[in-house]
């Protein structure tokens, strides 16, 4: 299996990517505000697309952060308490970001369906985004506190170790303890992960097989109605997947199957956005073939989603996860 990155590389990846949420959310907010000033619905759509993509990009930022923490383990001048505090703040802002990204997606989906942006969803996204910008900025600022050369010999308390961290609203260590101390949590999450996957893939199968040309008899606009169910399946898998990651991050940070899964998941996420806002396919009648870019999109979305499943199932075999 082609190795993508080692722990030290991933620490660099974190330093590279960690600016995306901070700058991306501010850019998204700027575009959204500009769309109000100019009364430009197209600009609003672009801002929601940016917000969705940033919500997507925040995922590798968070998981590479765990790798960076492992790489810094025991390093001189690094405060373990600062890592824990940053991790908790980052997790909170990550959750905010994903909720905002979900509502931005919902607004885009509704817009495609009814042909205009509804104000209820628009203002929901605006409020959530303002809160997210604040949460992300706070997490980024706390991340900057981690490397302090003056704290020589600072003891590292474990990746999500609870020692030295001030109790906050969300505690990664608390989640980790909860998952590991209750034996039913992991199997329950695994079960839900498989149900969510089936729901998600059912939607992806119909929408993309329609684009490829196999399931004609359905207009693209009609299968577009299924997309929220796909996102519901993704939501189930995102939440249960994060329980796995937080509880046993060391199984994933150095697992090449997980690295590939994240890469394919990002690409699959982009294809889901394209499916949601795809203009050419929207007007496709039930019996017509999609134009060739649509067929390529459908085929690649199918390959990507099977790839995500493949690397997920192979986590214990290619890598070291249980």
């Amino acid at each position: 299996m082609l190795n993508l990155a080692n722990l030290a590389d991933l620490a660099h990846v974190h330093l590279l990517l960690n600016h995306f949420p901070t700058i991306g959310t501010i850019l998204g907010l700027g575009l959204l505000l500009l769309s109000f000033i100019r009364k430009n619905e197209h600009l609003r759509k672009v801002s929601f697309e940016v917000i969705f993509l940033i919500a997507l990009a925040t995922f590798p930022v968070y998981v590479s952060g765990a790798a960076a923490a492992e790489a810094l383990k025991g390093a001189a001048g690094v405060s373990a308490a600062a890592i824990t505090a940053h991790n908790d703040a980052a997790l909170g802002s990550f959750i905010m970001m994903e909720i905002t990204g979900f509502f931005a997606w919902l607004a885009l989906w509704r817009m495609r369906r009814i042909g205009r942006m509804t104000s209820g969803l628009t203002y929901t996204v605006l409020v959530l985004l303002v809160l997210t910008v604040a949460a992300v900025a706070r997490a980024a600022n706390m991340g900057g506190d981690i490397r302090h050369p003056e704290i020589e010999g600072g003891q590292y308390a474990g990746l999500f170790g609870s020692s030295g961290s001030a109790p906050g609203l969300i505690s990664a260590a608390g989640i980790k303890d909860y998952v590991l101390q209750h034996p039913y949590v992991w199997p329950t999450c695994e079960t839900l992960h498989f149900i969510g996957m089936s729901l998600m893939f059912g939607v992806l199968m119909i929408v993309n097989l329609r684009l490829v040309g196999w399931l004609r008899g359905m207009s693209f606009a009609s299968v577009h109605r299924l997309l929220p169910f796909g996102l519901m399946g993704f939501g189930i898998n995102f939440i249960t997947g994060m329980f796995f990651f937080i509880a046993a991050s060391e199984q994933y940070t150095q697992n090449v199957a997980f690295h590939w899964k994240v890469v394919l998941l990002m690409l699959a996420g982009v294809s889901y956005l394209v499916l949601t806002v795809y203009d050419e396919a929207w007007t496709l009648p039930a019996s017509a073939q999609a134009p060739w870019p649509g067929k390529i999109l459908g085929a690649s979305a199918l390959v990507l989603s099977v790839g995500v499943m493949y690397f997920g199932r192979m986590l214990p075999f290619i890598g070291n996860a249980f």
Partner: protein
């Protein structure tokens, strides 16, 4: 017989081989089949329950082919996985409960097809009996996944 299956050369190969093409691939194919089968069945169920009504019901008939193709894959891979662990799975009530849910799901899916897709024209109004079948089918598939996944955790 269960013990001899579990001690067969095939079982030893599947479980002890370090090759990625042995147990990991069979298990992954089984997961793929599950995702395709249940995914297609859930979409039919959701449509019958009134979601995405813009999709012509008749056009979903092709999904039953996907259900059966995926079931064929899982019958083969499932048999392989059973032989490898026959002495453990054979006496396990939990395992047979899983198979019962799979059978229930297949029966529901077949009844849904016979009731709604026979004769080349799908009904415009979906009967409440069909909706009940869709609910039982949905629950049966979720229960099959639940019991199947938990097989990895029960003794």
């Amino acid at each position: 017989m269960l013990t001899s299956m579990a001690q067969s050369a095939f079982s030893t190969w599947l479980l002890s081989s370090n090759s990625i093409w042995a147990y990991p691939t069979v298990l992954t194919l089984h997961t793929f089949g599950m995702m395709v089968l249940v995914g297609a069945a859930l979409m039919i169920d959701l449509r019958l329950l009134g979601f995405a009504q813009a999709i012509p019901l008749q056009s979903m008939d092709r999904l039953f082919g996907i259900v059966w193709a995926a079931f064929a894959l899982n019958a083969v891979t499932g048999t392989m996985l059973f032989i490898a662990d026959a002495d453990k799975r054979g006496p396990s009530l939990f395992f047979w409960t899983k198979l019962a849910f799979v059978a229930l799901g297949l029966v529901m899916t077949s009844m849904i097809r016979r009731r709604n897709f026979a004769g080349g024209t799908a009904p415009v109004v979906i009967s409440s009996a069909s909706k009940r079948l869709a609910i039982v089918s949905l629950l049966a598939w979720c229960a099959a996944i639940t019991t199947g996944r938990l097989l990895a955790y029960v003794a």
